[in-house]
């Protein structure tokens, strides 16, 4: 028997999912080890296999989503990094795009520079905007700069020259020279990471890549060695920010593509499950302890963005908050994140308004009810006050809950100051958290002109299934899916992903100028590079799938829309083939289109290496787990109105697999608590999901 393993490291738990050839799965949650995150991975996997008497050699693949990239940036423990740039442009990285994330805040500070000014050196060279050499690269100025950086203690170097997107010649010369003459340095040239226009975005992305090289390499090399020494021979694959898998070597040399590795697994799982069950457009909704995340999946394809700002855990839902983080111009799943999760703290502002988050009690000290040192009310405390969470607690009973402490926290900090009862206050906290989380969903739907009412909400993560129905109600979403193993769904998702890479090539010019045949050369180049990359990861031609895209805009705009293209049509017909699809896409997004000339900016290719034994949601069967309740019980729960407490059945999750269930009810499993409100109906889909239909709730709320 062969096995595959998915591992996701979270703030509190490291989740492991084991999946065998027959579709049988089992899951395990072990305490994370933040100082050495690989430790929990190894012990978790080894223990799980030992319990089931599986030999390491039987494992055919290990898929891993890692927060090492994001944590390296957040904790500022990356390489001592130097930057080599064009004379006159030493400060491009620090000047940035000069905006601030908020208005009226005179206390604001820029994010700490990953490469301080002392490590940024200029060399003599200059290219024109069209790639002609204006000043040839002066090698001696380069050597001097590198020697200085070495003497200053640099471990990694980023190279980014002005206009190099139009011609990489000087960057390639510089990179080769440094690798040859200074082999101890790790080097990233911008042309190897992001050959696109806009110097700040390109420099920042290149710098972050260089900054991550040491930590990511050390982590992955160690993990690989530990696995090998324990008899594992299976390849280790890393989830990238766009939800594809990348091989170990790619992750080591281009770690910037894996900064968003952590949350991507869940989204890709949601995509595959949605595809398997024909859900149409899905909103993946992942609620954790500190934040809630939302992203859109259209016909099985997650919505991707080509740039984002990485910042400290919490993003404002506004899409204008430029300047608050590190600009990364790499493909990533478009995830909107708000500071509202189970641990978010409720408080009252100077104007007397009830607020929830963004400050979180996290996992430690956690909610007031955990009695671990926090006395402020959190969203989880509100859920305890309302009866959604019983005193037997969470994670199969491994965390105990003190309801009196939760009530005290809500009373002192919210109920009394606002003149409300504890129940009213707890409902208020829950409702504001729901509204904030709905805002994340709004920002990926209505703010893009998409109507959430026609979509399915797929809720997972620690608290997703507890809030799903209420969040859906706010947006008039009728259909909710709580997937199998929803509490460890990120790990599940990785097993369902393909190996995936993307490459981009700048091809700036009006589409009319790209005559038939002229796009063949750049497309050939992209295809050859992509095939080479996948070949290196062990995929033969028959297991490679390529899809091409074009970034287009009206002449003189700065933002592009990426549309999928047919390679052959594009070669045969030239740029003209792009006009109609662009007009249609533009009309859909912005509500108008016009007769202005259309410009092609980039061509893209996404290459997938098809894995042999991908997780198939249709063939899944789960085992039972220690700590799950087996019998139903009753509890008083307050769902929506402070004076109505309902006698509510608390049932094991598998109950709903046997027959449809009308709310009110609460379904409990090892990893998840599912709230089924009154007037909601729970059914199942044959893939182990619980489906909630809240149409009656929506009609009942008078809309």
């Amino acid at each position: 028997m062969q096995y595959r393993i998915g591992v996701d490291i979270g703030g509190t738990f490291t989740d492991i999912v084991l999946y065998d050839e027959t579709g049988q799965t089992s899951i395990s949650k072990v305490a994370s080890t933040p100082d050495d995150p690989g430790k929990a991975v190894i012990t978790g996997i080894v223990d799980m296999l030992a319990q089931r008497d599986i030999a390491p050699a039987q494992v055919s693949e290990i898929a891993h989503g890692t927060t090492v990239g994001s944590n390296t940036i957040l904790q500022k423990k990356g390489a001592v990094t130097g930057l080599i740039t064009t004379r006159g442009f030493r400060d491009v990285l620090e000047i940035g795009r000069i905006r601030t994330p908020d208005m009226f805040d005179l206390t604001w500070e820029k994010p700490v520079q990953l490469v301080p000014r002392r490590f940024r050196k200029e060399v003599v060279e200059r290219l024109s905007a069209h790639g002609e050499i204006v000043v040839p690269l002066d090698k001696s100025s380069l050597q001097t700069a590198v020697r200085e950086l070495l003497a200053q203690g640099c471990e990694a170097l980023a190279i980014c020259f002005l206009n190099s997107y139009a011609n990489p010649v000087h960057e390639v010369m510089a990179r080769d020279l440094i690798e040859k003459e200074f082999p101890s340095l790790l080097v990233t040239a911008s042309c190897d990471v992001l050959p696109e226009m806009k110097e700040y975005e390109r420099t920042s992305t290149t710098v972050v890549n260089a900054y991550l090289l040491t930590e990511m390499r050390a982590y992955l090399t160690k993990l690989e060695a530990e696995l090998t020494s324990r008899g594992f021979s299976a390849p280790l694959l890393i989830v990238n920010s766009a939800g594809g898998m990348m091989g170990l070597d790619a992750a080591k040399s281009r770690p910037v593509f894996a900064v968003g590795s952590g949350p991507a697994g869940g989204v890709i799982g949601a995509a595959r499950l949605g595809q398997a069950t024909d859900l149409g457009t899905v909103i993946a909704f992942d609620m954790g302890g500190t934040t809630a995340k939302a992203s859109i999946i259209d016909k099985g394809v997650p919505m991707l963005i080509n740039e984002y700002e990485f910042r400290d855990g919490i993003t404002s839902p506004s899409r204008f908050t430029k300047g608050g983080g590190y600009m990364l111009k790499v493909p990533a799943i478009d995830i909107a994140e708000v500071g509202a999760g189970g641990g978010s703290i409720a408080w009252i502002d100077a104007g007397g308004m009830l607020q929830v988050g963004p400050v979180s009690a996290g996992a430690d000290p956690g909610p007031a009810a955990y009695d671990l040192g926090n006395d402020k009310p959190t969203v989880t405390d509100a859920n305890i006050c309302l009866g959604f969470i019983g005193e037997t607690g969470l994670a199969g009973g491994s965390l105990t809950v003190n309801r009196a402490l939760a009530e005290q926290a809500v009373r002192i900090h919210v109920a009394e100051p606002l003149g409300l009862t504890v129940t009213q206050a707890a409902l208020g906290i829950r409702r504001i958290a729901n509204v904030n989380m709905a805002r994340a969903i709004r920002s990926v739907t209505v703010e893009r002109g998409l109507d959430p009412r026609e979509m399915t909400l797929m809720a997972f993560g620690g608290g997703g299934s507890m809030h799903a129905a209420d969040v859906a109600l706010l947006l008039d979403i009728r259909k909710i899916v709580i997937p199998t193993m929803s509490g460890v769904f990120c790990s599940v998702g990785m097993l369902a992903a393909d190996v995936e890479h993307s490459l981009v090539k700048a091809t700036v010019g009006p589409i009319d100028g790209w005559h038939a045949g002229t796009l063949k050369a750049p497309l050939d180049q992209l295809e050859a590079d992509m095939r080479q990359r996948l070949k290196e990861e062990g995929f033969g031609p028959d297991r490679i799938e390529l899809s091409f895209g074009a970034d287009l805009r009206y002449m003189e705009q700065s933002s592009e829309l990426t549309i999928p293209v047919d390679r052959q049509v594009l070669v045969d017909e030239g740029g003209q083939a792009l006009h109609a699809p662009f007009q249609a896409a533009y009309e859909t997004v912005y509500g108008y289109s016009d007769e202005s000339p259309v410009e092609l900016v980039n061509l893209r290719v996404t290459g997938r290496g098809l894995r042999d034994q991908k997780l198939d949601f249709r063939a899944l069967s789960g085992g039972s787990h220690a700590g799950e309740i087996q019998h139903s019980e009753k509890r008083q729960v307050c769902f929506s109105s402070a004076d109505i407490w309902l006698d509510t059945a608390i049932l094991p999750r598998h109950h709903v697999l046997e027959s449809a269930l009308d709310g009110p009810a609460i379904l409990v499993s090892y990893d998840t608590t599912i709230v089924v409100p009154p007037a909601a109906r729970a059914t199942t889909d044959g893939c182990g999901s619980v489906l909630l239909d809240i149409s009656q709730m929506i009609e009942g709320s008078g809309q």
């Binding site: 620090e94 601030t100 997004v589």
Partner: protein
């Protein structure tokens, strides 16, 4: 109607998210660098009475000008507003600010009743007039500044006003960009209308309007609660604009803030009279700058609406630079606004010394270069250079950052070079330009432009070439602004702060913007911070010695602590900045 705190929060967030969506639509669909890259535009939602109830995180300074424009529209059209209307204006003497800023308002109807307005204001690349970019500081009458658009319907019940459209098209230098950006404004207004319609029908109009009013009251309440804690009295401060570009006389901006319990009276008596240059700021703009200055130092996360205006009364003498009369020119009024803000903050520092930073760069510099390529196609670069923040009571200022009144971005060098016959020679921080202090000011920035076309017109608007950004609490002033022209033969000459002149191929224009003022005595600065700045080459060892009394070891890589103590003891405290 009773106010439910939860519904209140829901509606507030919904409005924020709608107005951001409006603004985002502009960004994604605009055609000109000044809108899509520099982000010189703003978006707001007004209620049916015209009160601004939400503003996107865009140009803060447009905030206070909306009420006046809205009043002018109501006066012009009364009840003659219909679904599908899009009203435009740009005349400073009828609700506008300066001609390049074209306002667009669309009324939002539900079941035939007027419920709200979408508002989008964009700075357009050109609106005609004597100088490319329509932004010259040396115009003497508004008639030179470009096309004045009275309050007109650009769309009337959904039908394009072809007359107006053609007049705009004929009178601007780059009609594709201007009309393209107008289209972006309209698309964005449409998004606002669609989303507001949904919100209001969801809650019902009575409930929705009740909460809109509550939001205004809430902002007012938060502002008044804070102001009540300020010491009563009258506090005066004067800052200066270098000159009007025609003669050397400095232009004072004098403000007296009277704190009276929970409201403020802000009086600009003593400021310069109206000037025969384009620096005149309309009263609505003066109001804006005043509100914004107060808003920046109020505590708490107050919603972006006009509730806070209610506790601030602004007075400016008629026919002054802060309240001009026809036909005063206004194009470069932004500069005057920056100085209003500097003067306001200087006065506020006397009231709240622990909240107010020293002066920043003094406002963005505008460099417009326009001409024709060898194939006779026109080009116009309107580039804005920002900026730095002054030292703050508990931390350093910020290097290379937007003026807080704006939240502008910058145009990428690669975008500029790709689209225009220009080469940017450098874009960099200027070492030693910061005002010294316990908390230093931000460094100024330098940007240099080499013309690659045969010839072009240059219009440069900068300031702080004579009056440096002030320091506070004994902090030093920042370094002043400098402009140079380098000829084809390499000879460098000084340019004045404000200039309109021809430019030839291969000439280089260099702008070095002022650095920000410092906060607190420079000799009190922590030596480790001094060392860090030296190692980062943000200050030189000479500067460290002169201002901070810090001496380096012979290798210049660490501090000579004994020598530093001695030197610091020997230095008498230097005289401070403006306070």
């Amino acid at each position: 109607m009773k106010t439910d705190p939860i519904t209140f929060a829901v509606i507030k967030n919904a409005l924020d998210s709608i107005v951001d969506e409006v603004a985002y639509t502009v960004l994604r669909t605009a055609r000109s660098e000044i809108v899509k890259d520099v982000m010189d535009y703003s978006a707001a939602i007004c209620d049916a009475q015209g009160n601004m109830i939400a503003q996107a995180k865009t140009i803060a300074l447009h905030l206070g000008a909306v009420p006046e424009a809205m009043a002018a529209i109501r006066q012009e059209f009364g009840e003659d507003l219909h679904e599908g209307d899009a009203i435009v204006l740009n005349d400073p003497y009828q609700g506008g600010m300066h001609l390049p800023d074209i306002f667009m308002f669309t009324p939002i109807f539900l079941d035939g009743l007027l419920e709200a307005f979408s508002v989008v204001i964009c700075h357009h690349t050109d609106v005609g007039g004597r100088v490319p970019g329509s932004n010259a500081s040396d115009s003497t009458e508004i008639y030179q500044e470009g096309l004045r658009i009275p309050i007109l319907k650009y769309y009337d019940k959904g039908v394009l006003n072809h007359t107006l459209h053609k007049i705009i098209e004929r009178n601007v230098r780059v009609p594709d960009r201007v009309l393209g950006d107008l289209k972006a404004q309209q698309a964005a207004c449409h998004v606002g209308a669609r989303e507001m319609g949904k919100l209001i029908s969801k809650y019902g109009r009575d409930t929705a309007h009740h909460y809109f009013n509550e939001l205004l009251d809430y902002a007012e309440r938060m502002a008044r609660e804070d102001i009540r804690t300020w010491p009563d009295g009258t506090y005066t401060f004067t800052d200066y604009i270098d000159d009007d570009g025609f003669n050397d006389a400095p232009l004072p901006i004098t403000v007296s803030i009277t704190v009276d319990d929970d409201h403020l009276i802000v009086d600009y008596e003593g400021s310069a009279p109206q000037v025969p240059a384009a620096l005149n700021a309309t009263k609505s703009y003066t109001n804006s700058c005043t509100y914004l200055s107060v808003r920046c130092i109020l505590n708490g996360d107050i919603p972006n609406n006009e509730g806070i205006f209610r506790c601030i009364e602004v007075r400016a003498p008629e026919a002054s630079i802060l309240n001009p009369v026809m036909p005063g020119a206004c194009a470069a009024r932004a500069l005057t606004g920056y100085r209003v803000m500097d003067a306001m903050l200087g006065a506020l520092a006397k009231i709240l010394p622990d909240r107010v930073p020293a002066a920043g760069e003094g406002g963005n510099t505008v460099i417009a270069i326009g001409g024709y390529r060898p194939d006779r196609t026109p080009f116009i670069i309107v580039d804005m250079i920002c900026g730095c923040w002054g030292g703050r009571p508990d931390r350093d200022g910020v290097d290379a950052i937007t003026n807080p009144s704006q939240n502008l971005s910058n145009t990428p060098v690669e975008v500029l070079e790709r689209q225009h016959p220009i080469r940017i020679e450098d874009y960099a921080l200027i070492p030693d330009s910061c005002g010294a202090g316990q908390f230093r000011g931000g460094l100024g920035v330098r940007r240099s432009y080499r013309l690659l076309a045969p010839e072009a017109g240059l219009q440069l608007r900068s300031d702080r070439t004579k009056f440096a950004p002030y320091g506070l609490a004994e902090g030093q002033d920042g370094r002043m602004t400098f402009n140079w022209l380098v000829d084809q033969d390499g000879i460098q000459s000084t340019l004045p702060g404000k200039v309109t002149m021809p430019l030839k191929r291969n000439q280089v224009v260099i702008h070095e913007q002022a650095g920000a003022g410092g906060y607190g005595p420079a000799l009190s600065r922590d030596v480790e911070s001094v060392l860090k700045d030296i190692l980062d080459e943000k200050i030189t060892p000479g500067y460290a010695r002169k201002w901070h009394g810090v001496v380096l070891t012979p290798d210049a890589d660490d501090i000579d602590r004994d020598a530093t103590v001695k030197l610091r003891e020997s230095m008498v405290p230097r005289s401070g900045g403006a306070l």
